[in-house]
């Protein structure tokens, strides 16, 4: 009796083709899955205890980022506004709005509001806001068009490749220091070139892509 029936050829071919297809699918998945929005959470806006709108407060009222994110120039963390900061204005305007009830409760009970994070880096990455602000990297370079956001959504992947793409060539991303918080800043003919700013602010790229800069 023959071990292989005539149909064995068919099975063999089917198995080979199947294996190749499976491999191709896996390779494709490895390339594609990390960059689809579901995984990077790009454009994703987590729900917040209060539907806070940067569009109204930043573009509408013209508030500077540093009014609320008070520590962004001096510390690694930008800092979230305390309840008292909201209450500076909302003790008088919109004082009875139901939307702001969690804020009033937080003030009365002396328990901070807990905002849900939009941007988070893994713990093995070291990041510092103050150095980027001091060297003229604008908030919108990393946080997107925040002046147009009703709910804050994530504008960048925060992948290592993204950090490196700028660290290797920061010049096109720099702006004059006094414009870092402007949400709708545009380069005009009179703005100094990126190279001039690099020299001005002493930005040196030689060591900026070393692993130890971000992984300490």
């Amino acid at each position: 009796m023959a071990i292989f029936t005539p149909r064995a050829n068919l099975f063999m071919n089917a198995a080979l083709i199947g294996a190749v297809l499976l491999g191709a699918c896996l390779l494709l998945a490895i390339r594609v899955v990390p960059v689809i929005g579901y995984n990077t959470q790009e454009r994703f806006a987590p729900e917040q205890p209060i539907p806070f709108s940067h569009k109204h407060h930043v573009s509408g009222l013209g508030l500077d980022c540093r009014y609320c994110h008070t520590k962004v120039e001096t510390s690694s963390s930008a800092g979230m506004p305390s309840t008292a900061i909201c209450m500076t204005c909302h003790s008088q305007v919109w004082r009875n709005a139901a939307m702001l009830a969690p804020d009033r409760q937080s003030l009365a009970e002396n328990i901070p509001l807990r905002w849900n994070r939009v941007y988070t880096l893994p713990d093995y990455v070291f990041f510092d806001h103050s150095i980027h602000i001091a060297k003229g990297v604008g908030c919108t370079e990393c946080h997107g068009p925040i002046g147009d956001m009703d709910l804050t959504w994530k504008a960048r992947t925060l992948y290592m490749s993204w950090c490196l793409s700028c660290h290797r060539d920061p010049a096109p991303h720099l702006r004059p220091r006094d414009q870092v918080t402007t949400p709708d800043w545009r380069r005009t003919p009179s703005t100094p070139s990126g190279e001039a700013l690099m020299a001005d602010y002493h930005v040196h790229t030689e060591n900026l892509s070393d692993c130890g800069v971000c992984h300490r």
Partner: protein, 171 residues
């Protein structure tokens, strides 16, 4: 035997897959709750606690320099102009949206108060205005006070106060 190693292999693979490639480590980030903790966060400091870099007594007024005024303008535009307006007239954006109107800095009473008064208003608040002690550093408070003085001076300035070589540009 073979069965057991197979089970072990599957088990170990699953365990490995559960690792979150070290994204969560024994490093406390700002605002991060201690792992598994239910406590209200952050724990309030003791009433008697002092911040690490806090100076022991308030700084005395620094000499007024151009750098101080520039710093004062920046801090004023960030923290005060939403209500008091860029020129200190009391007509900022928030006031236009219904916030009670603060007095203009150019009224006689505020022209005649010592600069210490501005420092104290920033530190302790005034009437319905909240304290800015958590937002404006002590040395910056003097910078803002100096800038308010500059705003007051420029509101009552005339052409004769401008240096002769700059007068042309204004005419």
């Amino acid at each position: 035997m073979k069965r057991r190693s197979a089970i072990a292999l599957v088990g170990l693979t699953l365990a490995l897959a559960a690792c979150d490639n070290m994204a969560n480590q024994a490093r406390r980030n700002p605002y991060e709750l201690p792992y598994g903790s239910q406590e209200n966060w952050p724990v309030m400091p003791l009433a008697t606690a002092v911040a690490r870099d806090e100076p022991l007594k308030p700084p005395s007024p620094p000499p007024v320099t151009m750098a101080l005024l520039e710093r004062g303008r920046q801090r004023f535009d960030i923290n005060c102009s939403p209500c008091h307006g860029r020129l200190g007239e009391g007509d900022g954006m928030i006031v236009q949206r219904g916030f009670p109107r603060p007095p203009s800095y150019n009224i006689d009473r505020l022209r005649n108060v010592p600069s210490q008064h501005f420092y104290d208003v920033i530190t302790h608040g005034y009437g319905i205005m909240y304290s800015y002690a958590d937002r404006v550093e002590p040395t910056d408070r003097w910078a803002v006070a100096a800038y308010i003085r500059a705003l007051q001076a420029s509101a009552s300035a005339s052409l004769a106060d401008v240096p002769p070589d700059k007068q042309k540009a204004l005419q």
